[in-house]
Subunit: 385 residues, 2 copies
C-alpha cells in the first residue's frame, strides 16, 4: 500500500481540506496589526449561524477542554450547586471540571449508549431542593456517539430552574442544527478539530447576554480562560487578550466560506446522510451498534465489539487498510470502536470505511459479507441523490 495514504475516521481530529491548509499558510500577521481585527471579526460573526448564536462567537486558543473549563470556571463559585448530565466520558469530564472549581456537583448518570430524556432531567432537577446555578449537558457525547435532545432538555431546565443552560457541542457543532435562543442555551462551546474541519488548537464559546452578565459578576479565580478579558478585548478592538492561534483562525475563515458555499442546511443534511449510510450499511452485515437510531449522532457511530466483531478489528483496519477509527473510552474500553464521519467527510468516505470493515470481517472471521454493507449504503445514498 501507499504508506502515505492514511484514512482518518477518528471522532476527531478529522481530515483538513486542502483549501483550509492553504488558508492557514497565508503569511503570518501580528495580532496587534491592522489586519487581525478584520480577520477575527469576520470569523466571530460568520460562525454565529453555525453556533445558532445572536452574539459573535468568542475564539480561544486551546483544546476543546479549554472551552469546557472556560464555561465552568467563569460561572461557578465555591459550593454553587450544578447538575451535570453524564452519559459518557465527556459528560464525566464536564463534571470533573465543575468539581475541580469547587461546585457542589449533582451527576445525572445515564446509561452509556443512551441519551438523556427530558423526564430523567426533570426528575433530577425536581429532587434538588437548592437553587441550581447551572445545568451542563453534552450535545454529542463523543465517547458513545449519542446526541442528547438539547432543545427538549433546555425546556426542562428553564421550566424547573433559573439555572444557566451550558452545552458542550465539541463533537457536533458544524454538523447539526442549533438555535441558542429558541433552545434556551446560555453558553455553547466547541472545538476546532471535529465537524469544523480544522486542526485542533482553537476553542469556541458562544454566550448570550444573560450568561455574559453572570460571567461579569463571577468572582472565581481565572486568568488565561477569563472570558471577560476576551469579551472586553473583542469589544474594544476586535482582538484577543493573548496572542491567538492566527494560522488556525485563517483556517476558520476558510471553513466559514466552505459552509456558506455548501449552504449550512446542506452541511447538516450531508451529515444525516452519512449517519444513515454508516448505520444501514453496518446493519446489513449484522454488526451491532451501541445506540438506537433515535439517540445516534450524525457525526460519530459506536460499534459494539463485545458481542460483535472481534476487538482485533480496530488494529486490522489500521494495519491492512490504513484506516484509523477511535477506540472505546473509560468503561467502554475494549467494548466498542467508533467511526467518526464528520467535517470533511463525504458519502465516498463512508463507502471506504464500510468496504474495509467488510474485508476485515472476511479476513478475521471468514464472514461472507463482501459488498453487502457497501450495497446498502449506496441504496441509502441514491435515495438522496
Amino acid at each position: 500500500m501507499l504508506l502515505d495514504q492514511q484514512y482518518l475516521f477518528a471522532p476527531g481530529p478529522t481530515p483538513i481540506p486542502d483549501r483550509v491548509k492553504a488558508a492557514m499558510n497565508q503569511p503570518m500577521i501580528a495580532h496587534r496589526s491592522q489586519e487581525f481585527p478584520k480577520l477575527l471579526e469576520d470569523v466571530a460573526t460568520r460562525l454565529m449561524p453555525v453556533f445558532g448564536s445572536e452574539n459573535p462567537v468568542t475564539v480561544l486558543s486551546g483544546s476543546g477542554t479549554s472551552a469546557l473549563e472556560a464555561a465552568a470556571a467563569n460561572v461557578i463559585e465555591e459550593n454553587d450547586v450544578v447538575v451535570v448530565v453524564v452519559a459518557g466520558a465527556f459528560g464525566d469530564r464536564f463534571a470533573s471540571i465543575c468539581e475541580t472549581f469547587g461546585a457542589n456537583v449533582h451527576r445525572l448518570n445515564i446509561e452509556w449508549g443512551a441519551a438523556c430524556t427530558p423526564e430523567q432531567l426533570e426528575e433530577c432537577l425536581q429532587s434538588i431542593p437548592k437553587e441550581i446555578k447551572a445545568v451542563f449537558v453534552t450535545y454529542c457525547e463523543t465517547s458513545t456517539g449519542v446526541l442528547n435532545p438539547i432543545k427538549a432538555l433546555g425546556e426542562v431546565v428553564k421550566r424547573f430552574t433559573n439555572a444557566l443552560y451550558i452545552v458542550d457541542g465539541v463533537s457536533c457543532i458544524g454538523a447539526v442544527p442549533v438555535d441558542m435562543k429558541e433552545w434556551k442555551i446560555d453558553i455553547l462551546v466547541s472545538g476546532s478539530q471535529k465537524a469544523l474541519m480544522l486542526p485542533p488548537g482553537l476553542a469556541f464559546v458562544a454566550m448570550n447576554d444573560e450568561a455574559r452578565a453572570v460571567i461579569r459578576n463571577c468572582k472565581a479565580k481565572r486568568f488565561y480562560l477569563d472570558l471577560n478579558r476576551y469579551l472586553a478585548s473583542y469589544e474594544t478592538d476586535k482582538s484577543t487578550p493573548f496572542t491567538p492561534a492566527v494560522s488556525l483562525i485563517y483556517g476558520a475563515q476558510e471553513v466559514c466560506r466552505m459552509f456558506e458555499e455548501e449552504g449550512f442546511e446542506n452541511v447538516i443534511k450531508r451529515h444525516l446522510l452519512l449517519k444513515e449510510m454508516v448505520r444501514e450499511g453496518l446493519r446489513a452485515i449484522e454488526v451491532p451498534l451501541l445506540t438506537s437510531d433515535e439517540d445516534a449522532s450524525p457525526t460519530v457511530t459506536a460499534v459494539r465489539t463485545i458481542d460483535g466483531p472481534s476487538k482485533q478489528i480496530k488494529k486490522l483496519l489500521k494495519d491492512k487498510f490504513a484506516i484509523t477509527v477511535g477506540g472505546g473510552q473509560k468503561k467502554l474500553k475494549g467494548e466498542i470502536f467508533r467511526i467518526g464521519h464528520m467535517g470533511y467527510c463525504t458519502p465516498f468516505d463512508v463507502i471506504k470505511v464500510l468496504g474495509s470493515i467488510e474485508m476485515t470481517l472476511k479476513f478475521l472471521e471468514g464472514k461472507d459479507v463482501l459488498g453487502i454493507a457497501v450495497k446498502r449504503a449506496e441504496e441509502v445514498w441514491m435515495e438522496h441523490v
Copy 2:
C-alpha cells in the same frame, strides 16, 4: 507595491518558514493513534537542548500566557509569598497572574528599559522576612527589549531563598543560551510564535525534578493547565491529556530539524549578529534606543520615538513599505516602537528594515540618512562573514 508582500518585524508572531508550513500540512493524525506518541516524544526530547532542560519539554496547546499561568497556578497556593521582577508589561502580567491565583505578591519594580541587577534582586529578597515560595523573572521582557541576567539572578535566588526560580522565556527561547541546571532555573516556559518560528498556539513548560515535586503536591485548583495531567499522560503513553494542536506540533518537529541543521550555537550567534546590526545601524542615523547594549535582547530592539523619530514612523513603515513593527505597550505606548528580529530572520531582513527606516525618516523629517544605517549594518555583518 505588491500588496501580498508584507514584512513582519513584530516581536511575535514572527514569519513562518515554508518548510515549517509544509510540515504542518502533513495529513492530520489522531492523538490516540500509534503515530502521535512518536511525534510528541520526538519534539519533547529534541527541544531539551533549546530549553537547556534535563527533562523532556511539556507541550501545551494555548498562547504563551497559558504557560505563564501553568507555571504560577501549579505552584502557588493561597497566600504564598512570591517575588516577581517587573521590568515591563510581561513582568506585570506574571505578577497579575500570581495575584489572581491568591499569592502574596512582592513586585520588584525595575525602570522600564533596564534589566534587573543581581544587587536589586538581593536587596528585595533580603527585605522579605517570610518564606518565599517562588521568584518569577522574565528572560526577555518583550515590551522593552531587555534581557534580564537570568544566570546571575538565579545565583541570588538560590543563595538567599529556598524558592523555586521560574523564568518566562517566551520571547527569546530558541535564540539565546540557557542551561536550567547550571543557571538554577526550576521552571522555564515559552511560546511557539517568537524565536521558535511557529504560528502562535503552542506553549512549552520545562520543569526540573524539584519543580515537579512541588507541582505534584500543590493543592491549587486547576484542570486544563494542570501540569500533573500532562506529565502523567506523557509518562504513561507519550500523549497529552487533551486533544493537542497536532499541526503545530508537526511544525515544531521541523523547527527542531532546522535548529539541528544550522547548529543551535549558530542560531544563537546569528541572533547576536542581528542585534548588533540593528543597534549599530540605528545608532549610525542617530535614532535613540531604549536600552543599553548590555541590557538589550538579541531578539527585539525598542526605539525611542518620544525624543527620536516621530510617532508616525510606525504607520508610515506599514503604509509605504509594508513593514509591521510593534508599538509601545502600557506606559511605553506612543513612546517607543519595537523591531522584532528573531526566529526566521536573517541579516538581509535587518537591511530591509533599516533601509525602510532610513527612507521613512527622509520622507517624514527630511533627514539625509539614506544608506547610512545599511552601510553600518553591512560593516558589522562583514566582520562575521
